[in-house]
């Protein structure tokens, strides 16, 4: 805070970023060149660059946290999101509450992934597949170092003489979830860089057999798990904070996280076909590339100001960079696929659509169409604007209407697919295996009718959910009977647990979207209100004032029991009212209270909106089950002996030790770790 306004944090941060940028570039160059000319010394130097870029990224992030916690208002970013009156916790979360900081978080996670991958494979850099994958990781890391240093400079010094700031957006400082949601989401989002890097490496080296899959499938699962948890936490935050009682609004930012989830989910299924049958190679590569490209595209759409969204950050110059990077990713990937087209051709054939493979293909069609719908709806206003210079909006009703039939079709697949055998299924076999699950579906249907559900689409969803749960339960029961506790781990078994979680989420979303009751009441003290079988009584109204806001809180008891306190706060600097809902959670339904109009202090009368939302809590339970299932799926299950022939050509025969470069290897050898488990 000298006259020159030179900040020690700014100087430190910038230096870390420059060192990291240079290290990443050197890492990429030494690996690429070392692999081309076969220079082992150059290859062995690469881990140092990974350590350096990882360490500098973490150091830069720590510097930012330090600047925020010590309230170093010489930095423009701290001026933007910091404030002396913000509690310490939200000073930390302020680090990712605006554009520059969130790019810095992205960079830190990405550099962390690069370092971990390097550490894991540092002994196998002779393998061109590994080397090229790390080149890609380094290039992406370098790009984000560049972003963080250039257009999204978090360490820019701000105007001199500033001693306080507005703090983060008020919505980002009233729930502890803002501490967890963004980092977890980013672990998922950024994690898809790893399988993408291996996919590109497989294309570059021409090793498009199944070896790269074995290396990446667990990374893909890891990223997918975090993305899932991140999305669910986002819904939870929206429910607890935003005060319109919803969890998902099809907002562009939400869609941007949902798109890679959709393509990633499609990949996790179709990769099984490739592992088992050696087929769908181009398709799987494309899904991974699409997933990564969609993370970049989503960031461009929501962070460049092209699309407006409540969650989006303000305009900045980052747009052209991200768009150009997206273009590079797409052009490079497409050219590589076109170039390697001859080697990508998969041998073998899928014999029957009524088979496990056939079901996975149908699943992929549905997920891809789903992703297309979401992407189209998100960018359609831009297309209309470009063609006709006219403003339109595409909102939740559109997405709801189209995702309903897709969701129902997916539930049906989820019911049938797990019991399907590979290759071919007979009608007799299906009738035999699906009999009990189908009756589970009928029972679910009956139960939902008995509790008063109506409407074709929700009933269909409940029935199919029961069916799917029956099928998943059947698989788990069979697996545990055969293998004991091991029946819960491994991809197939863990996958069934994930399915059960998805079913809970689907049921909770259907129920809460279809059967929410809303009532609005003017409440006075000692005058109870009855709604939907519950009694609400206003106990007390209190006004509160802070330097930046004034608000009102009402205490309302439900059924004569505990009091719940919805509040409404007007942030005077922004002139917006922000409601803080209060929720009574229950297994059957949630009671969600919001204060509607800020009355004057000392008022005895308040305007209250009451939402009765069924089954919401099962959404979070389902999300937790999905997370548990993902962890279980990540553990190695019982392996098939890879030497048993399948109908695909025999690739992936284990070759002990390092592969000899230059030898015409058919497919990529199974990595060493995988062998020990399988042989």
């Amino acid at each position: 805070m000298q006259a020159a306004n030179l900040s020690i944090n700014g100087v430190l941060g910038h230096s870390f970023l420059v060192i990291g940028l240079v290290a990443s570039i050197f890492g990429a160059l030494s690996l690429a060149y070392g692999t081309r000319v076969g220079d082992r010394r150059l290859l062995r130097s690469a881990p140092n660059y990974a350590w350096l870029s990882g360490a500098t990224a973490v150091a830069a992030f720590a510097t930012m946290i330090h600047a925020l916690v010590t309230r170093d208002f010489s930095l423009a970013y701290v001026q933007q999101v910091g404030s002396r009156s913000t509690p310490a916790l939200y000073n930390v979360t302020a680090a990712w509450s605006a554009l520059e900081g969130s790019i810095l978080l992205w960079l830190t996670v990405l550099a962390g992934y690069t370092t971990v991958i390097m550490r894991k494979y540092r002994k196998r850099l002779d393998d061109p597949l590994i080397a090229w994958a790390l080149v890609v990781m380094f290039v992406v890391t370098a790009f984000f170092f560049l972003l963080s240093f250039g257009p999204a400079d978090a360490f820019r010094s701000g105007a001199p003489g500033v001693t306080d700031g507005p703090g983060p957006n008020p919505l980002l400082q009233n729930h502890v979830l803002v501490l967890f949601h963004p980092p977890i989401l980013y672990l998922g989002y950024v994690g898809f860089t790893v399988p993408f890097a291996f996919a590109i490496a497989a294309l570059i080296t021409g090793r498009v057999g199944e070896g790269w899959l074995l290396v990446t499938r667990r990374w893909a699962l890891f990223a997918w798990g975090f993305l899932t948890v991140g999305i669910i936490l986002g819904g939870w935050w929206s429910y607890e904070v935003l005060g319109w009682s919803g969890v998902w609004a099809w907002d562009p930012v939400e869609n941007a996280s949902f798109l890679p989830w959709l393509t990633g989910t499609a990949y996790l299924h179709s990769v099984l076909v490739q592992e088992r049958r050696g087929m769908l190679r181009v398709w799987n590569l494309s899904l991974l590339i699409a997933t990564f490209a969609l993370t970049i595209l989503g960031t461009f759409l929501t962070r460049s100001g092209v699309i407006k969204s409540v969650h989006a950050f303000s305009n900045s110059t980052i747009g052209p960079f991200l768009l150009a990077f997206f273009g590079v990713v797409v052009v490079v990937s497409l050219s590589l696929i076109a170039w390697r087209g001859d080697r990508l051709r998969s041998p073998g054939a899928i014999d029957s659509p009524i088979s496990r493979e056939g079901a996975f293909l149908a699943n992929n069609v549905l997920f891809t169409v789903f992703a297309f719908v979401v992407l189209l709806g998100t960018v359609f206003p831009l297309i209309v604007e470009a063609l006709q210079d006219r403003q339109i909006a595409v909102g939740p009703p559109f997405f709801d209407e189209l995702s309903m039939p897709i969701g129902i079709a997916l539930l049906f697949l989820m019911a049938v697919a797990p019991v399907l055998p590979w290759r071919k299924a007979s009608g007799e076999l299906l009738r035999e295996r699906l009999f009990v699950p189908a009756w589970c579906g009928v029972l679910a249907l009956l139960a939902s009718i008995l509790v008063g559900a109506n409407g074709l689409a929700p009933l269909l969803a409940f029935g199919l959910a029961g069916f799917a749960a029956g099928a998943a339960g059947r698989q788990v029961a069979l697996a545990t009977r055969r293998q004991g506790w091991r029946g819960f781990v491994g991809r197939a078994n863990g996958g069934m647990i994930v399915h059960l979680g998805v079913i809970l989420v689907a049921v909770a979303l259907t129920a809460s979207n279809s059967y929410t009751h809303v009532g609005e009441f003017t409440m006075q003290q000692a005058q109870p209100v009855t709604f939907s079988g519950h009694t609400f009584e206003l106990q007390q109204v209190t006004a509160f004032t802070t330097p930046r806001s004034k608000g009102l809180q009402a205490e309302i008891s439900i059924d004569g029991g505990q009091a719940y306190s919805p509040a409404i706060t007007r942030y005077t600097t922004m002139g917006t009212d922000i409601g803080t809902p209060s929720v009574r959670t229950g297994f059957a339904n949630d009671i969600f209270l919001t204060l509607e109009k800020a009355a004057n202090a000392g008022a005895t009368e308040v305007q209250v909106k009451i939402f009765i939302k069924p089954l919401i809590v099962w959404l979070w339970i389902g999300g937790a089950l999905m997370a548990i299932g993902t962890v279980l799926a990540g553990f190695p299950g019982r392996r098939r002996n890879p030497l048993l022939p399948t109908s695909a050509d025999v690739v992936g025969l284990p070759v002990v030790g390092l592969p000899v470069v230059g030898l015409p290897v058919v497919g990529t050898p199974v990595p060493v770790e995988e062998q020990s488990a399988s042989v």
Partner: protein
């Protein structure tokens, strides 16, 4: 018992299941849900309108002055009872412009947003059919003796090495 159970799991059980499921679905979908409260009608209408200034939120979610005013207007129109949902929506859209309509129109270029997903699904299904046809043809080709020998040696080598 097991034999009977096995038989039941073939056609008879499934026919019963189908009848029961269809009956339940039919009963459930024609059942009345009871009258909508006016709040629920206001909610349905306001969910289809974008807040005119707040970047992606609907009138239902948003809390700024314009949205609050529009909500009050919708509430007044709903309780007056003379207008249908669509009339109320188009009344608001007339003043604020088409960009507050969250449901894209089905006319002109806007209809593409409805048509393209259907086209994509049709293309994907057609593609699948073509691929399965091709696979069926490929599966019909019988492996030659050379192919079999190649596979066998490969497997044997693999077993030897491990």
């Amino acid at each position: 018992m097991t034999d009977k159970w096995k038989q039941l799991k073939q056609w008879p059980g499934w026919v019963v299941l189908g009848v029961v499921a269809v009956a339940l679905l039919a009963f459930g979908s024609i059942r009345e849900s009871g009258p909508r409260t006016s709040e629920e009608r206001v909610e349905e209408i306001s969910k289809q309108l974008a807040c005119p200034i707040c970047d992606g939120e609907s009138v239902f979610e948003s809390r700024n002055t314009a949205s609050v005013a529009i909500r009050i207007q919708i509430k007044a129109d709903v309780s007056a009872g003379a207008m249908g949902d669509d009339d109320i929506i188009s009344k608001v859209a007339q003043v604020y412009g088409a960009r507050v309509l969250l449901v894209p129109q089905a006319t002109g270029i806007d209809a593409l947003v409805w048509a393209l997903p259907v086209a994509a699904l049709v293309c994907a299904v057609a593609g699948l059919i073509v691929v399965f046809r091709r696979w069926k043809r490929a599966a019909d080709t019988v492996p030659t003796a050379d192919d079999r020998a190649l596979v066998e040696t490969a497997i044997r080598e693999g077993l030897d090495e491990s």
